[in-house]
């Protein structure tokens, strides 16, 4: 299992959609952290807590983009990529990110946490 804490491993201030929008964009997170972790073939746990706030565009590009590019294998979202939120504030972001994945790849199913 690979665990990625966005605030600790990536940035406390993730912002933007594309790399051209800044160092800590959704595209950078997807390409530099999510994709390499998923390539290992183990489940990837992503902890969303601790950042100053997410723009929906960041979440859509990072997580929706991952599904669009077919990087999540299998049909069960929560077996391959597990999004975690410890507080209610980040629970909203977790649900939003999961929605973006489902919208980008409607074939994926969601299971209860």
């Amino acid at each position: 299992m690979t665990r990625i804490e966005v605030a600790k491993d990536f940035s406390r201030f993730p912002a933007g959609r594309y790399r051209t929008d800044g160092r800590f964009s959704g595209e950078a997170f997807r390409e530099d952290w999510l994709k390499p972790a998923l390539r290992k073939g183990e489940p990837v746990h992503v902890v969303l807590d601790g950042v100053a706030g997410y723009g929906s565009s960041f979440l859509e590009e990072a997580f929706g983009g991952l599904a669009r590019e077919g990087c999540i294998s299998g049909t069960d979202l929560n077996r391959t990529l597990i999004l975690k939120s410890e507080s209610k504030l980040f629970d909203v972001y977790r649900k939003l990110a999961e929605d973006y994945i489902r919208k980008a790849n409607p074939g994926l199913k969601r299971t209860a946490n």
Binding site: R17, D21, G22, Y54
Partner: protein, 149 residues
């Protein structure tokens, strides 16, 4: 039971019930205050976002607006999480409207450099805010009625 004992028991019961009533009223007032704050934050964020999306290719001013929008978005979610802790009934009731609103607020080309003006999103965010506030008020109305019954 003697008259004195009856008086003491009656007094204690009276004190307890009035204390509990006060506690309940403080709780209701506090939640009402938070609820109105939440609606105000949603309106402010929608106004800020409408202005942001209406503008063309980015300049310094837009970066400040992005920071304000993210700040207001965080205030909204924090206030909502406090309310949901106090009012369990609200939990999950407005998820769809919240997602729609957040997407209008900071989705699309938010924080994208040199983006074009997005007039449709400028209008959509106001509509999403109106839907969210209406739904929140509706659900709170149901809860208050249930509490009174």
């Amino acid at each position: 039971m003697s008259t004195l004992q009856s008086l003491v028991v009656g007094g204690v019961l009276g004190f307890l019930s009035s204390f509990l009533l006060r506690l309940w009223l403080v709780h209701i007032n506090e939640n009402t205050k938070r609820f109105e704050e939440l609606c105000k934050y949603i309106e402010d964020a929608a106004d800020e976002a409408s202005d942001y999306w209406f503008r063309g290719p980015r300049d310094d001013d837009l970066e400040i607006k992005e920071a304000k929008i993210i700040g207001l978005q965080t205030k909204i979610l924090l206030t909502l999480s406090i309310l949901q802790e106090n009012i369990w009934y609200l939990e999950g009731k407005c998820s769809e409207e919240i997602s729609e609103f957040l997407d209008g607020l900071s989705g699309g080309s938010f924080q994208v450099k040199f983006r074009e003006a997005d007039v449709a999103r400028s209008i959509q965010v106001q509509q999403a805010a109106a839907h969210l506030i209406t739904r929140l008020r509706q659900e709170r109305g149901f809860l208050l009625k249930a509490q009174i019954r």
